[in-house]
Amino acid sequence: MQYLLVLYSNESGWSAMPPAEQEQAMGAYHAYTEALKKAGVLAGSNRLRPISSATTVRVANGKTQVLNGPYADSKEQLGGYYLIEVPDLDAAISWAARCPGASHGTVEVRPVWPTRA
């Protein structure tokens, strides 16, 4: 099964970090990504730019509304994802727990809705 590990964390925490710590954190993510690749479970992954770069689009009554900012204002922001292919939820949870994001933020585990039938 495919699961999306959705990473939420406090962006301001990141920008407040001294460069050396940021580098260490990046190193941890890099190592985690490598571990996923080595295990043959990584199907895709991306880090997202901060919410200050986000734009929200909604079409209502035929009119397109474009708003500056993210969809939801929350304490922790969506910062990236990993798409993994593993046998079951327990395997997904154990990968989520290894993600550095689980230690400084929250990782949401979502099964992908299969579309091929």
Binding site: L89, I93, V109, P114
Partner: protein, 428 residues
């Protein structure tokens, strides 16, 4: 055999198989697809067709295998019909593969492998809402219907039905595996299974007179599950501890009401009415558990029950041991419920003032404001130190929160008798 007899015989056999093997069959059918609801549907149709067929053809040599084959065919048909469904294709493949294996087993007259424990671990998975785990296990492992479970858990049948459906959807959609967790994960995960079983037992225990059939059966079913877990995991001390705890509690069922149906608190129960067979079983389970050298909540609670049994042998309760065990439990769980019972035991060893002081530590916990035993215990202690007005008020709150009429009447009698005499203590 006349058709009528055959009919009755088929029904009896089907009932017996249902009771003994329902969970086994659900577990086996759903293990690969993780589709518990589909397995239950298929199985209920298989039971229905057994009732139609067995009177005519006679009971098959292996009723379990017969039901399994019919149910599995049914699942394949359903999966085919739902072709557009999200996982119909993969499900079909999985089912077809499994069918061959099962038919080979049936041909060789092998037993259906027991995956009930794996099913219980799926039902008590941390991804499943804690409040629905016990009902879910009761339904999928024992085949109890939603209305009966709803009544035992004081929930509307519609709400219970919906929550059970959602939980089964979660197992399937989130891909919760049917497996017994690895050694390092096991203690934590087993805790959830045991908690669910104990929750079922506690609901059954809430009907001491056994007048509500739904509840009485629940206590029995919970003990059956507890027994099952100890058989499948004989080296887990907490599983043994839970079964001992349930047996000790159940042993006192008859003593909890007098001949008029009135509530009798533990301290006033006649130990001769306690069931010695169950007590003996419980004691030997606790011995087995302690030999495994890993203490836990259920062993401590079982040991507490065992300390009360002391009175049966000696005529006197061993309150010092009870306080010690509560201290250990308090250190382990820190739940306010434990604090209350600990305070009541302290009242026996150190007097009511010390007990009230101990209780003060948890009085601020909001969970206690609607917890009847807290108010009853408080009332009892306040009465002992002679603050009758406050005691009366605490009884008033306790009475207002109680759902069992016999306990309510008992509390009312206590409230009435407040000014009259020194009161005996008890643990409610």
């Amino acid at each position: 055999m006349s058709p009528r007899n055959g009919d009755a015989h088929a029904r009896r056999t089907a009932d017996a198989v249902a009771r003994r093997s329902y969970g086994k069959l659900v577990a086996f059918l759903a293990a690969r697809t993780r589709d518990v609801a589909a397995a239950e549907d298929a199985l209920s149709e298989a039971f229905a067709s057994a009732l139609t067929n067995w009177p005519l053809t006679g009971c098959p040599a292996s009723p379990e295998a017969w039901l399994l084959t019919v149910a599995r065919r049914k699942m394949i048909d359903d999966a085919r019909r739902r072709r557009s469904g999200e996982t119909a294709a993969t499900q079909l493949q999985v089912l077809a593969e499994g069918l061959d294996a099962a038919e080979a087993d049936v041909a060789n007259d092998l037993e259906v492998p027991d995956q009930r424990l794996a099913l219980m671990f799926a039902c008590a998975h941390p991804a499943i809402d804690a409040g629905i785990r016990a009902p879910l296990i009761l339904q999928v492992v024992l085949g109890l219907d939603a209305a009966m479970i709803a009544s035992a858990f004081l929930m509307s049948p519609t709400t219970m039905g919906q929550r059970l459906v959602r939980a089964k959807d979660k197992i399937r959609q989130a891909g919760i595996p049917f497996r017994i967790p690895d050694r390092e994960e096991l203690p934590g995960r087993l805790g959830a299974v045991l908690d669910a079983i104990y929750a079922a037992f506690a609901e059954g225990w809430a009907d001491p007179g056994g007048t509500d059939p739904a509840r009485r059966d629940l206590a029995e079913e919970a003990m059956f599950l507890g027994q099952l877990v100890t058989e499948l995991l004989p080296q887990e001390p907490e599983a043994l501890g839970l079964l001992a705890l349930m047996l000790h509690a159940e042993a006192r069922r008859r003593a909890r009401r007098n001949s008029e149906g009135e509530y009798v608190p533990l301290a006033e129960q006649d130990p001769a009415l306690w069931d010695s067979r169950m007590i003996g079983l419980a004691e030997s389970l606790l011995m087995r558990a302690s030999a495994l050298n890993s203490i836990g909540r259920y062993q401590l609670e079982g040991a507490l029950q065992s300390a009360h049994v002391h009175r049966r042998r000696t005529g006197q309760a061993n309150w010092a041991a009870v306080v010690q065990l509560y201290d250990a439990l308090w250190a382990l769980c820190g739940s306010p419920v434990i604090a209350i019972n600990r305070a009541l035991a302290i009242a026996e060893t150190d007097g009511p003032d010390a007990a009230l002081k101990a209780m003060q530590e948890v009085a601020a916990d909001v969970r206690l404001t609607e917890y009847q035993p807290y108010w009853a215990a408080r009332a009892q202690l306040l009465a002992k130190v002679g603050t009758y007005t406050e005691a009366r008020r605490a009884y008033e709150i306790a009475i207002g929160l109680e759902r069992d009429p016999a306990v309510r009447r008992f509390l009312q009698r206590r409230q009435l008798g407040l000014a009259l005499s020194g009161l005996q203590s008890d643990i409610i």
